[in-house]
Subunit: 341 residues, 2 copies
Amino acid sequence: MKKDKLTLKDVALRLGVSTATISNAFNRPDQLSAARREDILAQCEKIGYTGPNKAAQILRKGRSNIVALVLADSIAYTVSDPVASTFIKGVSKVLQQQGKHLLLYAGDSASILDVVDFVDGFICYGAPKNHKLAQEIVQQSKPAITVDFNIEGLPSVNIDNEQAAYEIANQAVKGGDHVAILGLRLIDSPTTCRVYDSPLIGSDSSISHRRLDGYLRACSEKGVNIDSDWIWHIPESDRNFAKQAAKEVLHSHPRPNTVLCMSDIIALELLQCALTEGLEVPQDLKITGFDGIEEAERTRPNLSTVCQSSVQKGEIAATALLDATQDDTLLSFELKLGETL
Amino acid sequence: MKKDKLTLKDVALRLGVSTATISNAFNRPDQLSAARREDILAQCEKIGYTGPNKAAQILRKGRSNIVALVLADSIAYTVSDPVASTFIKGVSKVLQQQGKHLLLYAGDSASILDVVDFVDGFICYGAPKNHKLAQEIVQQSKPAITVDFNIEGLPSVNIDNEQAAYEIANQAVKGGDHVAILGLRLIDSPTTCRVYDSPLIGSDSSISHRRLDGYLRACSEKGVNIDSDWIWHIPESDRNFAKQAAKEVLHSHPRPNTVLCMSDIIALELLQCALTEGLEVPQDLKITGFDGIEEAERTRPNLSTVCQSSVQKGEIAATALLDATQDDTLLSFELKLGETL
DNA sequence: ATTGTATTGTTTACCCATACAATAAGCTAT
DNA sequence: ATAGCTTATTGTATGGGTAAACAATACAAT
């Protein structure tokens, strides 16, 4: 079934040429005559040598063609998140075109040390749960790029979250409305809860902060005040957490008539809860989402939300990484005004 | 920001011990005294040596802690498929527990040659589009395991698709019903179409064949005949392809009153089309799915389907791979009788 | 004092290939 | 024929580390 793998040396011996020549035949066509090169490749094919050992190449060349995608959370969580998996889609498309491979790296891992020596670069999607991880990545000399968050020293790809949140809130909120916000990762709590006076987590540039700022700016302009009692914290964009928050909002007194949600998943859960409880949307309750996932278009009523192209984000991020771009990229977004307003 | 990376040799020189000792301090605690080991590790920490270079370790040890997950299709497609991404969830959970890393590998790639030298093993999820790929993997001496398909020479993880299909069909089909089947990857066509007399693709053990066999057995037992005109081919479990097939079925004459779908995605598209067209489910149309995805529980009416735990499948596959299990694993399934029957 | 046995640390060969300098061969111009 | 220049090929140092064989030391038992 399997003979012990041939090495470059074996082959060189067998063909009576130097190892350098075999290596050149595979890697640097300009270093030898075309005739000999073809001859060598043909012979290799015949004896079953499929090319230089990749592990050795990684060591010698210092390049593996592997790009690590560092996710905000666990892999398990990420692949089931429609926004994140769409992002991966974009990334993988570009990587495949460029002959690169994709290593998924959980953002709650202890350290990147066990891959940093061989991966060609890092794409960091969303602030890793483990802050140390982000720090480690900055320290490295490997190319790296961040998406949906910023960290001093690395280029980033993002939309203007503050502006996007402002614009959608602007569409949703009317003077005199009673507004609640269902936020993502606002405070340091593993469970869904109202924010109250808890200190906000994450840097000021985190997307949640930016979105919150945008929401508040829009409300403020309409003369609507939002007390932190009416801001909910949801630990991750998970349906169950979202559902719990949704129920709390709907059962709170007085019930808000407008709810700004920091993700479509959250908004859809809220929508479903509201319908189940017999509320009329948008008459009794206006809802906005964020992201523009496909599912949000299929619901009845369909969701009003901020659409950003996660696929494009992935493509841009991967391209920028491979090109070693140093500048931040600001992507566009657009509002989708659906039937929940 | 970054000093040139320290090597084991540098450190050995600096600490005045041999490289082997430093290596042992990191890898084989039993090879030196605890005191010295701690001293060395402390010193390393102090001078900023974080441990042996992983690229070199991969070459020398012949092990990388990277497992390649070879997907049936492109990565882009796979991550957006609920079944596949749930599977990844299971795989990644186990790998992370074991300190392994996950490399996503597209099943339509040209070859595995560019990773085979360094990955520790392969998990093949669904028959790769590129048949050569599967062949290559069998040829390797690396551990490998297949999921949702079989290939001579590799252990597999699967459910009894024939029996599962038989049982759900058995619940759905009554004597005198007019039954259609919406099948997945049955023939060699890139578009949705009726099967007619086209030759079936894939081996006899492919899940689609097994499911088809199960459906037909159940129908046959009820005295229901299904002509191949009433079997549709859908090239992949994609919503658009599914929708197209759904429409064709609903507009065909005479319209079937029972449709057996080889995936929940297909079934849900059919359900939505049917409702949109004003049909009553299940009065006018009975529908069965396959897989048991979450979304199928949330629809109204919710779907009758075969539930298999993709997470578990992933866990089992990863575990079996790491344990180098050689036996096939047959997982259980269960019927969920929802409101579409 | 001598031998035997653990324990600890070092030497050395090896993992597999690539980059670069050096050599050899072929050719032109004088 | 010789110097000078290309082009094709090879020798060798290097990438960073590990495993197995080996040497050295410490200590107990004889």
